[in-house]
Symmetry: C2
């Protein structure tokens, strides 16, 4: 396996290249997430449109399971007569979906390396909007996981009530399983997730076809034994504000639409084209399903209720019974709600890696794991979402008000960024190309229309976001409105740190110091034994100027060390520091500090630390760990070099 690929002799430097795969992973790891994949296999890990749709659309498609219902809940305030507004509102939402889709379709082509709200905002609006977009999206991905899994678990519990006390651990367990599947890599997890997504699509489409056929043949009828609806005594009148609230509640259908634009890189070449077509498919399916459900829900006189979902009412009315087709719809809906999590597991690590590459998040998030996915981001998402689930006790009602603000904030920033991009393109001289970090600008005719579309979309999503923030502020939305600025501040602090480190390490204007011509060696000893002598042997190979230092807290022990040193010390000078207050480290550090003040520029002080090492970590509790504490303390003192001479005792 080891090949000397290349030996170069260039500018006096010998460069050897070898392929060194490193040790294979443990059996447990291979069983859980599979054999490691070589970087060269990256191209094979790309997905086509079929799998891509399954990976990136489960979040968006799952929202059809509750979007219509959310509209009905708001309209119920004005009585059942107001339900007639459901279909027109749904059409308005689908128009908005169309605008957002068009915008993202253009984004995908403009940003073939992935262009979510973060990149579009970064390239077109500046650093602050980009950081806001990143904070909004990351928050929302975490909430998607928490909300989707909690609502899936809620569905499971309504079937198996005995599981209620275990709901939190059930939810955390599901998140962990989905994390493990995602750690297996994009292609493999895509194949695993394709089955439930297409099963959902199949069952729900079948329901729609049967329902529409029965409707047009006049045989559909109304819901039998509808659940009790909670209507307030004083029926309100239908105001524009009420309609707007119903509209904003229904826009829950749009969450997840941005996922594909973030994941363009995951598609096979030509990736922009494949991703764009997948987006259009997804929007088409989503829009039609949503319209069908809204239309049919009104026709069958479905009722919004906590006890039975609109989908359930629709399915049993369509199939006329609680038989196998009904059960298939319910199971498929439950599974797709849990699968929606997967979209977040794809989006979060990719976005985290992009933000980390720009230095706003820890660099580690940008490293590809053994299966060519950003494993650290996947694990981080699982951890944070699990903590959130534990904190909110897997309660959907408590989590839902936190949700969706982030999505619409990022929609707004993304579309505003695109609008600005069209404006820039419109003002370029024809033929000129401007290279930005994520895309290339080139004059295009018709930029005005595209700018208006994006600008209109930005205004619409901004309004929806504001309505959300106002109407849900007291119910928990304030947490998000505090969290996003906090994240932005954190991004800035991290960025500042990385910039400082880079400046401190930069080789610009670096004056090479004189070579080391003198070593002074300090050898702290805790006794005279084989470990000490191994360190002494090494210390003497570094320099003639070696001083052994012993801190004495007990006169008898010190005398023993002195006598032994006469036999074994090879003539090396011994300093005994009497520590009247029985400190071990303090006197040693003070002594080293004093040595350090007399150091010359060409001189280095090296502290050689003898250390005995046991494979059994429990045994470590039986020793004082002075060597370890000494190393930590010495590392904090500039200008010293620390040498560990380990001596193995097993």
């Amino acid at each position: 396996m080891i090949r000397h690929d290349l030996v170069q002799e260039e500018n006096g430097v010998t460069v050897l290249r070898e392929v060194m795969p490193g040790p294979p992973p443990s059996r447990l790891r291979r069983w859980l997430i599979g054999e490691p994949l070589a970087t060269a296999k990256m191209a094979e890990e790309k997905v086509g449109k079929i799998v891509g749709l399954a990976i990136f659309s489960s979040d968006a498609l799952s929202s059809t399971a509750y979007a219509t219902q959310e509209i009905l809940f708001v309209l119920a305030v004005a009585g059942a007569a107001a339900f007639g507004y459901t279909f027109p509102i749904s059409i308005a939402i689908v128009v908005l979906l169309g605008i957002v889709t068009l915008s993202y379709e253009q984004t995908i082509h403009a940003y073939p390396d992935g262009g979510g709200a973060y990149i579009v905002a970064r390239d077109n609006l500046g650093e602050l909007p980009a950081k806001i977009a990143a904070a909004a999206l990351l928050t929302d991905y975490i909430l998607t996981v928490a909300v989707s899994v909690s609502s899936g678990v809620a569905q499971i519990i309504s079937a198996f009530q005995d599981l209620f006390p275990y709901r939190v651990w059930l939810a955390v367990g599901l998140v962990t399983v989905i994390m493990l599947i995602n750690l297996r890599g994009v292609r493999e997890s895509g194949s695993i997730f394709a089955v439930p997504t297409y099963f959902f699509l199949f069952t729900i489409t079948l329901t729609m076809v049967v329902a529409l056929y029965r409707y047009f043949s006049g045989a559909l009828g109304h819901v039998e034994n509808p659940p009790a609806m909670e209507i307030s005594e004083s029926v309100a009148i239908v105001t524009p504000f009420l309609l707007l609230r119903a509209f904003s509640s229904g826009t829950a259908a749009l969450t997840g639409v941005e996922a594909i634009s973030n994941g363009v890189q995951a598609f096979k070449e030509p990736r922009s084209r494949n991703a764009g077509i997948t987006l259009l498919w997804m929007a088409g399916i989503l829009g039609s399903l949503f319209l069908c459900i809204s239309f049919l829900a009104v026709q069958i006189h479905a009722v919004p209720a906590e006890t039975e979902t609109v989908i359930s009412q629709l399915a049993r009315t369509t199939f006329g019974s609680y038989g196998i087709p009904y059960m298939a719809v319910i199971i498929a809906t439950t599974v797709i709600l849990i699968m929606a999590t997967n979209t977040a597991f794809n989006g979060f690590p990719r976005l985290g890696a992009l933000v980390a590459q720009d230095g706003f998040l820890p660099r580690q998030l940008a490293y590809l794991g053994s299966r060519l996915v950003f494993s650290r981001g996947i694990v981080l998402l699982c951890l944070v979402a699990s903590l959130l689930i534990i904190a909110f006790q897997a309660s959907v009602n408590a989590l839902i008000p936190l949700y969706a603000i982030g999505v619409f904030l990022s929609f707004t920033l993304s579309q505003a960024g695109m609008a600005h991009r069209w404006w820039k393109i419109g003002h370029l001289p024809p033929g000129q190309e401007v290279r930005e970090r994520g895309s290339t600008l080139r004059y295009e005719p018709g930029w005005q229309v595209r700018m208006v579309i994006n600008g209109f979309g930005a205004v619409c999503t901004a309004i929806v976001m504001c309505i959300f923030a106002v109407t849900k502020f007291m119910y928990g939305a304030w947490i998000v409105l505090v969290l996003i600025p906090a994240l932005v501040v954190m991004f800035s602090a991290i960025h500042r740190h990385y910039r400082n480190v880079a400046a401190r390490l930069s080789l610009e204007k670096y004056g090479v110091p004189p070579p080391v011509s003198r070593h002074r060696v300090i050898l702290p000893i805790g006794g005279v034994h084989r470990g000490t002598l191994a360190a002494l042997r090494y210390a003497r190979s570094l320099s003639q100027d070696v001083t052994a230092v012993y801190v004495s807290v007990d006169a008898e022990d010190a005398e023993k060390v002195r006598t032994k040193w006469e036999t074994w010390g090879e003539g090396v000078r011994l300093v005994i520091l009497d520590s009247p207050y029985r400190q071990m480290l303090g006197p040693l550090l003070d002594y080293i500090e004093r040595m350090d003040t007399t150091r010359q520029p060409n001189e280095v002080i090296t502290v050689v630390v003898p250390q005995f090492v046991s494979r059994n970590w429990l045994a470590g509790l039986l020793h004082t760990q002075t060597a370890w504490m000494l190393r930590v303390a010495l590392t904090m003192r500039p200008g010293l070099v620390i040498v560990d001479v380990p001596y193995h005792i097993d």
Copy 2:
């Protein structure tokens, strides 16, 4: 402050001695536990008889608060008529106290460096009984803390019922306060604890004097409105077994008697004499108080009850009201119950240090802290006792069955050991001296009588222990009977580890290896920056044979490093390891392993690790910590030396 005390040139070795006090402790630490005390002040930290009595007798004296009551509780099974046996039983217990006291008085003189059950058993019975004694005593000290504080808190709560929900934290808080006081050192904590101990002695003695005066003048009378006694319907007859159970319950009065024999070293010289006199005082006070209370309790027709203690009944009958003298007795009793903890805080760390010196517990327990007490043992006791209090929710009823078995087990072992010691002394030729580890044996006439006293005491305490173990087995005593063997096994494992380490480090038959004549240096680099160049400078000062190693996971980055190395690498060979699975550490370790297989005996492979260091530990999260993980991995590989070259970035 720094004095070159002594410069010796002996056998060709220069030895310098300096006094180096080390940095002063933090202000918080000084405020909490005081300025550090020099080792030379050890003699001043000794206590006299007055303070010694306060420190070591609070546990024993506090037992007068409940011992009589425990006897009454058992006799109540046979009806109030059986209470007449209380005084004879008390006399038997005081006789036992006398035997135990005599035994320990002899122990104190035989073992002037402290001779608790552990040392006596070690020197006279062997290693296993010694370990059993140590386990029994350590367990019992921990239980003393938990039981005493819990019962003190229970008294506080019966006065302030609102505090009930906070009882666990109140108890843990009290333990922490007592820990802090003990960390201040023997003398200072002794002075603090002397006040409540003497206050208790004063109030309880006053009560006895007044009560006896009123009794003999015929004016004492009976308890008014005695609490309701729970007597079983079918009154049992008085059997010898019942009397034995009453006797064993009453022997709770003996807990704490061994404390002084463990702490002989804490007394001023002549320490054996001072300690022995203090023991006699304590036994005298304890015996008389106990007899008086038992006598008077029967005379006033006191009744055992959960709702009011016998001491309370006695006090209000004596003083005829709930006035100030009554309140003083109640407060003093509560405080002495909490103070009983302090005896354990004196005994546990001392015993822990003795056992640690023999290598049966971690060595750290044998180090004197800044205030000349075994601080680590004090902190350990506080931690374990707090955990126990939390686990048992500060419930005295749940804790009490665990208590006292350990005490009587150690009494038995100690007296059996002393008996064996007299037998050995009796068989020595006159004039000959045998030096044992803790004492010196010399023929003494009259050894037969002393042996019989000790042997009789051992048999008595063994019987009491067995009765305890049998009657309380189901109520929790089994925990102790499992715990003590478990501790003994742990002691043995620790001992084996220390013996192995000592054997591996021993210089016996040690052949000095040839001096290092060749250094091969490996310099792992993650990039080319100031930190790398500092490490390169150091590496080149060690050897001509330096190889820089870079693990490449990204071809572009590798090319950048190669180009930079041509400029800054000072001609040093660069090896680029292509890591197809994007591992960082694995390929590097494999490469070092391969180097290691070609190593000569006189050659050392040194790995120089460049590391940048930030004072802000949070910033550490933003870097990969590869240097740290590399060091841990390398330390586990025998035969390598690891050099840290820190580069400070702030």
